[in-house]
Symmetry: C2
Subunit: 209 residues, 2 copies
């Protein structure tokens, strides 16, 4: 089996070199190239594609997130593993949405980093402990609203794009009652239109579609 080839995108020369040393010093891994900025990485990576890219987020100029977007646009199959100090909610989800296939924080011990690279190459998505929990929790319902069961039911239909009339027919009640429920939903969610209600329902996972 050939070595797993790795590229590193990291602005701190010290970290960059020590990562390269670690990878090249381990049988089965080769560090093919290193880049000090997102721009250089984009230019260089299209030439010779590694199996896995280790990408820092905080870079001078273009951020790692932007770099991931650009790279995945050009090379959808490229595996990019984020390796960074930052681990706040927003950055994590932006990175994953941009196309990262894993997310490691920088205090990951060498052995685990190598294991993560291996796992990425095997079709996995390695994440640091805390990150994994963040990701999984994002699926769970967060917001607690005081919508009644009936109101939630009506909201669910709204989220399918139905009109008052269609909802009335589905629930076997009059359109006027649907109107009443929706008025209450708007008051409780503090919105003033169907699209706003639907947006809020999706963002706060108020419905189970």
């Amino acid at each position: 089996m050939p070595d797993i080839t790795v590229s590193i995108v990291e602005d701190d020369p010290e970290i960059r070199e020590s990562l390269a040393l670690l990878i090249n010093g381990t049988p089965g891994f080769t560090c093919e190239s290193t880049y000090g900025s997102a721009e250089k990485a984009i230019k260089g990576l299209v030439e010779d594609l590694p199996d896995v890219v280790l990408m820092d987020i905080q870079l001078p100029g273009m951020t790692g997130i932007e770099a991931i977007k650009v790279l995945k646009e050009k090379e959808p199959d490229l595996d990019i593993l984020v390796l960074t100090i930052q681990s706040d909610n927003k950055v994590v989800f932006e990175a994953l949405c941009a196309g990262a296939c894993g997310y490691l924080v920088k205090d990951t011990p060498p052995a685990q980093l190598l294991e993560a690279i291996q796992e990425t190459h095997n079709g996995g998505a390695p994440m640091s402990t805390r990150i994994a929990r963040l990701v999984v929790e994002s699926f769970q319902i967060t917001a607690q609203t005081d919508l009644t069961a009936r109101e939630t039911e009506v909201l669910t239909h709204l989220c399918k794009g139905k009109s008052y009339k269609m909802i009335a027919d589905s629930l076997f009640i009059s359109e006027e009652t649907v109107r009443r429920h929706i008025k209450n939903i708007y008051r409780k969610l503090e919105v003033h239109s169907k699209s706003e209600a639907v947006a809020k329902a999706f963002k706060e996972k108020l419905v189970n579609l």
Copy 2:
């Protein structure tokens, strides 16, 4: 440090017993209780809470997914780790939405299973390789629509719940033009109302909010 206490919910007695043996045979772990069905588990678990529950999905009667929902309703802080043969998309996401904090397929080797229990207890969210990738990919944009840049921009505003007039003001164009763009969006997305368009945009991740 006290042992990590584990409960097993699994209908196959053979698997159940061998898991219990594995856990009890490992220093640092204690299998506190085992249940052959979701119903029994719900009744028994509220009495003595373990640190981690290993939950099968395919159970006689109530499914593991339903059991997770009920248990998390009563005990939001309980860590439930799914351990099952099934790994199709739908089941994985249903389990995570229900409140599972990790997802392992049943061919997980004993050492890794124990490691996963440990990781769960440390606030992690262990997942089998393939599952983790599934989860991460769910954040990435899937659908490719032929919306123009301007249309996507208008759709984004729709997804914030804005009216035609507000969108017109935001983009410094006339309300008529907004109407025209929205007509085209409806045609391309094959929808007929704002709420339907918003729902589709969220479900298919057509916008970056």
